[in-house]
């Protein structure tokens, strides 16, 4: 008897709940109550990769604030919403749904590649435009609505190999990479592929998250190399250089990719204390003293003091401006109508047509600067064809420090 009563109550409650929920749903444009254009993003704000995510969050916020201070897009203001994914793809379904249903109209995607591989699918399903500052995976711009501000892994690997083929002929090459990081492995594989056969097989040494506490052995493996290619981020690189000082050839050169940016700003690591040379191929140098990049760095430091500053942030800054410029371009040149409550899919179509057109040139702080201190960034190739979301800008080979003559 009691069982029946309970079951009855239970089903009534559930039915009521169901009716209530159905009544409350049925709206499709989650952005209709927005008072500002919402830019959504997901990145690691805690955990081991937090310094990248925080740089992105701060820089994007900086750009948003600057744009709003200048009056926004014909009076339309912007707002950044960034959620934490801890560099873990598991958190993306929640983050994405929360952002999308919170009224996100355009996105910066994710900060890192692994979560980005999840993000792109959701964004594609809802047709949300995203321009990622730093998810470098080749597959990130797989769908039509995904764009990158950073160089893709394969481009970086090939470009670095070209530098080697040109500048380091006949030297003994070593590679130090992170074996459980797709960024590192991706660049390494493309690098090896594009490396001239005359170099022979490079000496390889790797580490993983589980063996990252000391690189003494890896230093031993690579100590006879003349040039060491390091497709890794700057914090392990600093450890390697510190531990390698005195063991690795005194006139060796460390050569890295965009991850190495920031190596000369690691707290407590005096890059001059090592004798080896350090160079990297990137789109940004966070110690630059000229051009628009300098303006950004000064503004960032003034606002956030000693918060993380690296190429991730610079790219995020560019992303926000690129989206803003594209919207502006669309309203001015294409006559598109952008309102504050525009549905994400409508905005996506507008932005896609802008980004894919060869006439749209974004002038940013990442990439090789032109005379006015800003670089030219497009998402079309030399012939004016769309590059499927891969960025087209000139990389720069920065030399952080030359080889110091041995004492």
């Amino acid at each position: 008897m009691k069982i029946r009563v309970l079951a009855l109550i239970l089903s009534i409650v559930l039915c009521l709940g169901m009716v209530g929920m159905i009544a409350s749903c049925g709206k499709t444009n989650y952005a209709e109550n927005n008072t500002k254009i919402k830019i959504g993003a997901s990145g690691p704000l805690t955990g081991g990769a937090a310094m990248y995510g925080i740089a992105v969050k701060n820089s994007a916020q900086l750009a948003v604030d600057e744009i709003n201070a200048k009056g926004g897009l014909n009076g339309i203001m912007f707002e950044l919403v960034m959620l934490d994914d801890k560099h873990d793809a598991n958190n993306i379904s929640t983050n994405y749904a929360s952002l999308y249903e919170g009224g996100m109209q355009v996105s910066l995607g994710t900060v890192t590649t692994k979560p980005g591989l999840e993000f792109k699918g959701y964004a594609n399903a809802d047709n949300v435009f995203f321009l990622t500052p730093s998810a470098t995976g080749d597959d990130i711009p797989e769908f039509a609505n995904g764009y990158q501000m950073c160089f893709a892994d394969s481009d970086q690997g090939t470009a670095s190999a070209n530098v080697f083929n040109k500048d380091y002929k006949g030297k003994k090459v070593g590679i130090f990479f992170k074996a459980d990081d797709d960024y590192s492995v991706g660049i390494k594989n493309n690098f090896v592929k594009a490396l001239d056969a005359s170099f022979g097989t490079p000496v390889m040494a790797s580490f993983t998250d589980a063996t990252a506490s000391s690189f003494t052995q890896q230093v031993s493996e690579l100590k006879d190399c003349d040039v060491i290619f390091m497709p890794i981020y700057y914090d392990p690189a600093a450890l390697f250089m510190k531990q390698g000082n005195g063991t690795v050839k005194a006139d060796a050169i460390y050569y890295g990719c965009d991850g190495l940016d920031g190596i000369d700003a690691v707290d407590g690591f005096d890059i001059k204390s090592i004798t080896q040379g350090v160079s990297y191929l990137s789109h940004f140098n966070s110690n630059t003293t000229e051009g628009a990049a300098k303006t950004y760095i000064d503004a960032y430091k003034a606002k956030y003091n000693d918060a993380p500053l690296n190429q991730f942030g610079a790219a995020a800054y560019d992303c926000v401006y690129a989206i803003y410029d594209a919207m502006k371009y669309a309203t001015e040149k294409n006559g598109a109508e952008i309102t504050v409550t525009i549905a994400p899919e409508d905005l996506c179509d507008i932005l896609k047509s802008v980004f894919d057109s060869k006439d749209f040139q974004f002038r940013g702080i990442t990439g090789a600067p032109e005379e006015d201190g800003k670089s030219i960034i497009t998402w079309t190739d030399a012939n004016g064809n769309a590059t499927n979301g891969h960025v087209n800008k000139a990389p720069v080979s920065y030399t952080v420090k030359e080889v110091t003559s041995a004492q």
């Binding site: 805690t46 955990g47 081991g48 937090a50 310094m51 925080i54 074996a179 459980d180 390889m204 040494a205 790797s206 580490f207 993983t208 998250d209 589980a210 063996t211 990252a212 506490s213 000391s214 003494t216 052995q217 890896q218 031993s220 493996e221 914090d235 392990p236 600093a238 450890l239 510190k242 531990q243 000082n245 005195g246 063991t247 005194a250 690691v266 707290d267 407590g268 690591f269 005096d270 204390s273 004798t275 000693d306 918060a307 993380p308 041995a406 004492q407």
Partner: protein, 298 residues
């Protein structure tokens, strides 16, 4: 030559693991808990050193040891003591909670930026002038001063701990508490005090371990503790958890495995190799290499 070099590298990394494992095994042996927060105390120690480094390197090391010992006592008082007598699993979960807590506090206080350090440079400026990179060349082969210091430190601490446990009153009380808390209490030993002292020693050893890691050049950030924590657990188990010489042996075995795997070009599989060896050791000797069997009377 390569072999010898790898051996030395193995000892240098293993020495650090051994130092962490020593602290871990002390706490385990007496408080009977898997202290997942041990690694994070290392992290705190490292930050303390960074904070005090501008004043004086020696002062910073002493400050780290003292503050970590105090932190250990505080954590024990607040998080573990209320659970004395409860299931070991409950304590394990609080230890995990403490680990999360320390990490997020560190991120809030010190920020997410990794910090390199120049402890070694500050401690031995004269030596560095004559030896580039702090390397001593013996004939054709090189050994780092930091490696020598690490091994000497670990050996000294191990001998010191052994003597402390065997010879001093407190040390013997520790063994008694370890064997049987109830009986020790009946014999007039203040169990709470002994456990507190154990945490202080364990945490001080963690601070010492962070000193060694920094001498080795380790970059400091708020997640730096989780990896050494799990390595120490592994090392302590290989050597026989609870055994002081075992912890040292386990740490060095772990370091050697890592380096030789790297030498053989199997760096990508270092984790698999390490843990496979662990499993084999345990299958052959279920209580670790030097572990003591505890018989259950039927």
């Amino acid at each position: 030559m390569k072999f010898l070099e790898t051996l030395i590298n193995g000892f240098s990394i293993g020495g650090i693991y051994a130092m962490i494992a020593l602290g871990y095994t002390m706490v385990y042996g007496i408080a009977k808990m898997l202290n997942f927060a041990h690694g994070d105390i290392i992290m705190v120690g490292a930050y303390v050193i960074i904070l005090f480094l501008p004043i004086n390197p020696v002062v910073s090391i002493i400050a780290a040891i003292v503050l970590c010992a105090l932190l250990g006592i505080t954590i024990e008082k607040i998080a573990y003591k209320p659970l004395r007598g409860a299931s070991p699993l409950a304590v394990l979960i609080t230890a995990i909670g403490v680990s999360y807590l320390l990490q997020s506090l560190a991120q809030i206080i010190f920020g997410p930026n990794p910090k390199s350090n120049n402890l070694f440079e500050k401690l031995f400026p004269k030596f560095l002038e004559s030896h580039r990179g702090g390397i001593i060349a013996i004939g054709s082969f090189n050994i780092k001063l930091s490696t020598i210091i690490t091994l000497a430190c670990v050996a000294l601490v191990m001998i010191g701990l052994t003597l402390f446990v065997k010879r001093t009153k407190i040390g013997r009380a520790m063994v008694a508490v370890s064997e049987d808390k109830g009986a020790a209490q009946l014999m007039g030993i203040n169990v709470n005090k002994i456990i507190m002292i154990t945490f202080a020693i364990g945490s001080a050893l963690a601070a010492l371990a962070s000193t060694l890691m920094m001498l080795d050049g380790q970059t400091v950030n708020f997640t730096m503790g989780s990896l050494p924590g799990i390595k120490a657990f592994t090392a302590a188990v290989i050597g026989g958890i609870g055994s002081i010489p075992g912890a040292m042996l386990g740490g060095i075995v772990l370091g050697l495995i890592e380096c030789f795997a790297q030498m053989a070009g199997l760096g990508d599989y270092a984790v698999a190799i390490e843990f496979s060896i662990l499993i084999i050791v345990l299958l052959v000797k279920p209580t670790g290499i030097l572990g003591k069997k505890r018989r259950e009377k039927v």
